[in-house]
C-alpha cells in the first residue's frame, strides 16, 4: 500500500448523520467519503487516510423534497438520481438535464451532489448552476451561499471537523437555462452559463471562463435590458474577467463562447416555456 503499508485503515459505515459526525470528530484524521469517484482513485495514487467515514448508508442525506425555500436535494443524492428525479425534472429541468451530462453514467450512479461540491471548485457545470440559481448549501453547522462556496480565492470554505454538507436548496425559478460547450463527452464543459429568472430577478453563473466559477452580475444586467443581440453591450459583459488560456482553448475563444452561451441562455429564458 502506498505510503501506509502495514497501517490499519478503519472504514466506518454509520447509519445516522449524528454517528457520522461523532466518528469524524472523535477519530483522528478521519475523512468523510461520499460516492468515492474522486477520492478512491486518488487514494490509489497517494495513500489511504487512517480512517474513512462512509456516508453512503445515511438515508437522510438522499432525500429530494420541495418546500417554501424551493427544491431541496440531499447531499448524498447520486447524480443519476438528480438527473432522473421526477421532482427535479418538473421543478428545475435545466438542473436535471445538467446532472444527466455530468461525467459518465457509471460514475453518476455512485457520485453524489455533495461530493461533487467538495471536489469541483474550478470548472464543470454544477458550480454555474448553483451560482445561477442563487443556491444555498446547508451544513450541519451553518448555511453557505453558493457565491461564498465558489470563491475567487480558489477553494471552498473549510468545513470544521465533523461538519458535513447535508443538502442544497435551490430557489424555484420561473425559468432556467443551462448552456455549455463540451468538447469531450464525460469531461468538464469548456465553458458553462447557467441563467435563471425568478421572482427576485435574474441570476447568471459562469464556469470555465476564468480560473474560478463566478456569478456574473454584468451578465444579469445585460439580460435584464432585453436586447439579446451581439454588439458593444455584450462585449462589455465579461470585460472585467480574466479568461483562462490553456491547452484546451485560448482565453479569447472561451470569451467568445461565453458570450454566445449567454445569448442562447437569454433566448431560452425569453421563450414562452423557459428552458
Amino acid at each position: 500500500m502506498t505510503g501506509l503499508e502495514g497501517s490499519p485503515v478503519l472504514l466506518y459505515r454509520p447509519l445516522t448523520l449524528a454517528d457520522a459526525q461523532a466518528r469524524l470528530r472523535d477519530v483522528s484524521d478521519a475523512v468523510p467519503l461520499a460516492g468515492g469517484q474522486h477520492l478512491v482513485p486518488r487514494w490509489r495514487d497517494t495513500a489511504m487516510p487512517p480512517a474513512i467515514v462512509s456516508l453512503g448508508s445515511i438515508a437522510a442525506l438522499r432525500r429530494i423534497t420541495v418546500d417554501d425555500n424551493g427544491l431541496s436535494i440531499g447531499s448524498g443524492t447520486s447524480l443519476q438520481d438528480v438527473a432522473t428525479s421526477a421532482l427535479v425534472q418538473h421543478r428545475l429541468p435545466a438542473l436535471a438535464g445538467l446532472a444527466a451530462r455530468m461525467g459518465d453514467r457509471l460514475m453518476r450512479n455512485r457520485a453524489t451532489i455533495g461530493g461533487a461540491l467538495c471536489t469541483t471548485h474550478e470548472a464543470g457545470c454544477l458550480p454555474a448552476a448553483l451560482l445561477g440559481t442563487g443556491a444555498l448549501l446547508h451544513t450541519t453547522a451553518r448555511e453557505i451561499p453558493a457565491s461564498d462556496w465558489f470563491c475567487a480565492t480558489g477553494g471552498a470554505p473549510s468545513l470544521a471537523p465533523g461538519e458535513l454538507i447535508t443538502r442544497i436548496t435551490l430557489p424555484q425559478p420561473v425559468a432556467a437555462s443551462h448552456q455549455c460547450l463540451r468538447l469531450t463527452p464525460g469531461r468538464f464543459a469548456l465553458v458553462t452559463v447557467f441563467a435563471s429568472k425568478g421572482t427576485r430577478g435574474l441570476n447568471v453563473g459562469v464556469s470555465g471562463l476564468q480560473a474560478w466559477p463566478f456569478r456574473a452580475l454584468a451578465a444579469e444586467s445585460w439580460l435584464a435590458q432585453g436586447d439579446l443581440g451581439a454588439g458593444p453591450a455584450l462585449d462589455r459583459v465579461f470585460a472585467d474577467c480574466s479568461p483562462r488560456s490553456d491547452v484546451q482553448a485560448s482565453g479569447q475563444y472561451r470569451l467568445a463562447q461565453a458570450q454566445a452561451l449567454l445569448q442562447a441562455a437569454g433566448l431560452a429564458l425569453s421563450a414562452p416555456t423557459g428552458a
Partner: protein, 175 residues
C-alpha cells in the same frame, strides 16, 4: 496495476453478507476496492482489471441493479448489497439481461472481448431504466467505457437489437 494499493485495511460495520451472483459471501474484511475483492476473495475473474483509475470502465459490475466502476468503490461499501457480474447474468431473471446476452450471441459485436463484460453490464443498467432508449441514449450510456477494437458501432447495434427484442416481448415496458 496496483493490486495491493488498498489492502491492509479493516472495516467496522454491520457485517452483513454480500450476495455476488446469488452466492452469499462474508463481507470484505478490508477496505480494498470492490474490484480487488471480487477478483480475489469472491473469485470473479470475469470482472476485468484495466486502468484502475476509473477512466476505462472495464471493471463495471451491477450493484443493486446499477452499473458502477468497481475500481472506484470500496468493497466494504457493498455489505448487504447484491452484486452481479457478467458470469451471474445467465442465471439472473432480468429480461434486459437475457435480451442483451442473446443480442451479443447473435451479433457477436466484440473483437478481443476484454471490454465485453463492462458493455453488457452498462447496457443492462440502461435498459433497466429506459424501456426504449434511442441510439443517442445508448451511445451516451457508453460514455466512460473504452473499447480499443470495434469503434463501438457493432456494440451499439447489439444493444438496439436487444431493445427491439424487449419491446416486442414486453409491450408495457421493461422490469
Amino acid at each position: 496495476m496496483k493490486a495491493t494499493a488498498l489492502s491492509s485495511c479493516h472495516a467496522i460495520s454491520s457485517g452483513a453478507p454480500c450476495r455476488v451472483n446469488a452466492v452469499v459471501h462474508p463481507p470484505s474484511s478490508g477496505a480494498e476496492t470492490l474490484l480487488e475483492w471480487l477478483r480475489g476473495s469472491a473469485g470473479c475473474t470475469d470482472v476485468r482489471q484495466a486502468c484502475d483509475t476509473g477512466h476505462c470502465g472495464a471493471c463495471a459490475v451491477l450493484v443493486d441493479g446499477r452499473a458502477v466502476k468497481s475500481c472506484s468503490v470500496l468493497a466494504g461499501e457493498v455489505e448487504g448489497r447484491e452484486v452481479l457480474t457478467l458470469a451471474g447474468l445467465e442465471s439472473a431473471s432480468r429480461p434486459a439481461a437475457r435480451a442483451v446476452l442473446d443480442a451479443v450471441a447473435t451479433m457477436r459485436p466484440f473483437q478481443c472481448g476484454y471490454c465485453q463484460p463492462a458493455f453488457v453490464i452498462a447496457a443492462i443498467d440502461l435498459l433497466g431504466s429506459e424501456a426504449a432508449p434511442s441510439e443517442c441514449a445508448v451511445r451516451e450510456a457508453f460514455t466512460g467505457l473504452l473499447c480499443r477494437c470495434t469503434g463501438y458501432q457493432s456494440i451499439v447495434g447489439a444493444v438496439l437489437l436487444a431493445t427491439r427484442t424487449l419491446q416486442a416481448s414486453t409491450p408495457g415496458g421493461i422490469e
